[in-house]
Subunit: 237 residues, 2 copies
């Protein structure tokens, strides 16, 4: 199996690292140039921005037997036209950063979708080269998983930014918060997020919540604090 990865951004670079580490014959190619003269491959993985995907795919002309897979959490499989009967989605749920190596790709889940049932085993085998967590999901469920990614990565990171700003103002290094951040992640390996919930909102300690609202000066961050506290109390436990 010759694999061609299109796109040299975070996702493309990391997938290239993961596959070559498993001795897959893999080439990493820019998605911005030379699309009419691509190296031969059995499978092309599109690791390009959502808004560029359809246009890049339209410029790629291959033998009809080639398998075309995009890596987006949100774009449908139909971005690949009828000239690509073997098509699918290969969505690794992880946050890739260029300057941060991933230590263990084998724990990263890959969610896939296939245009035809005859492509399922090919995509499955490809994913199993780098991870042992492979799931076939529909477009709708993949979108839900992408939403989960936003919830467990983007939004907690926003909370870290707000806390970093507070720590900076009182001249305490952000690094003092890291053990708590690590424990927050480690806890839900052992307890359900529901069991792991603690804090003034969980306890219903209105005095502390009022004091925290006083300390926060930005009205939108106050509103965020109120909303999170309300939801912590409202969600079924």
């Amino acid at each position: 199996m010759k694999l061609l990865i299109l796109g040299q951004g975070n996702v493309g670079t990391h997938l290239y690292t993961a596959f070559t580490a498993k001795h897959v014959d893999c080439t990493l190619h820019s998605s911005r140039e030379g699309l009419d003269n691509l190296p031969a491959a059995d499978c092309i993985l599109y690791a390009v921005r959502d808004d560029a995907l359809e246009q890049v795919a339209a410029q790629v002309h291959t033998d009809r037997r080639v398998l075309h897979l995009h890596t987006s959490g949100t774009m449908p499989l139909t971005v690949f036209g009828d000239d690509k009967p073997h098509a699918g989605v290969f969505y690794p749920l992880q946050s890739f950063s260029k300057n941060r190596p991933i230590e263990d790709y084998s724990s990263i889940p890959v969610f896939f979708e296939a245009r035809g049932i005859d492509d399922v085993s090919a995509i499955y085998s490809l994913a199993l080269m780098i991870t042992s967590h492979v799931y076939e999901v529909s477009q709708q469920d993949r979108e839900q998983l992408h939403l989960c990614g936003v919830l467990v990565n983007n939004f907690p990171n926003l909370m870290f930014r707000i806390a970093e700003d507070i720590a900076r103002r009182i001249h305490v290094p952000f690094s003092t918060l890291l053990p708590l951040i690590d424990e927050t992640a480690a806890k839900v390996h052992q307890l359900s997020p529901c069991e792991a919930q603690t804090g003034p909102a969980k306890r219903g300690d209105q005095n502390v919540m009022n004091r925290h609202l006083q300390l926060l000066q930005d009205p939108q961050i106050q509103e965020l604090y109120r909303l999170c506290s309300t939801l912590i109390q409202k969600l079924p436990s």
Copy 2:
């Protein structure tokens, strides 16, 4: 130094484990009974609920030389009356759970406050028995740190609960989200939270954000999504 820890909840139990591991002569005692007949100690650590603290402290009568320290992130030092001239705060910033051992206490920061300057070195020495991260902070700054704790622990955990609920509905195990949760925490050891921010809100991808809002059905969770997205875009980068 003989240490007496009052309160057998999460904080008391963990501090007891941490101090005894460092061979400190330490006793763990209930805060609910026998307060008039406590074992002799040089220092009493109050690991009791905020709303019980003042009442428990008032029932503890010791030699005036004994050092009294509470462990609350929010309560003032003045919960200790004039009969306790040596008093202070010993606030470890960590989320302790009864059934989860802490692997490394030495990375946990302890923020302290002392009633008198002559108690600073005693409290400092005590904290250094279990950790190398010890900071003297004012009541106001300690409250800010407690707020940071809510931001980096309680609120991310709320996001995990919402994501767990979505994953359950689409029959994907919550464990598939753990590598991303781990990476979210690991990233900010290396990048600032600001640099680590990614996602549709950061990219300004309104299509994806609208789709996610459709997928979320609870109006308050939709509002949370909107507010987080707005703040991700608004906060200085």
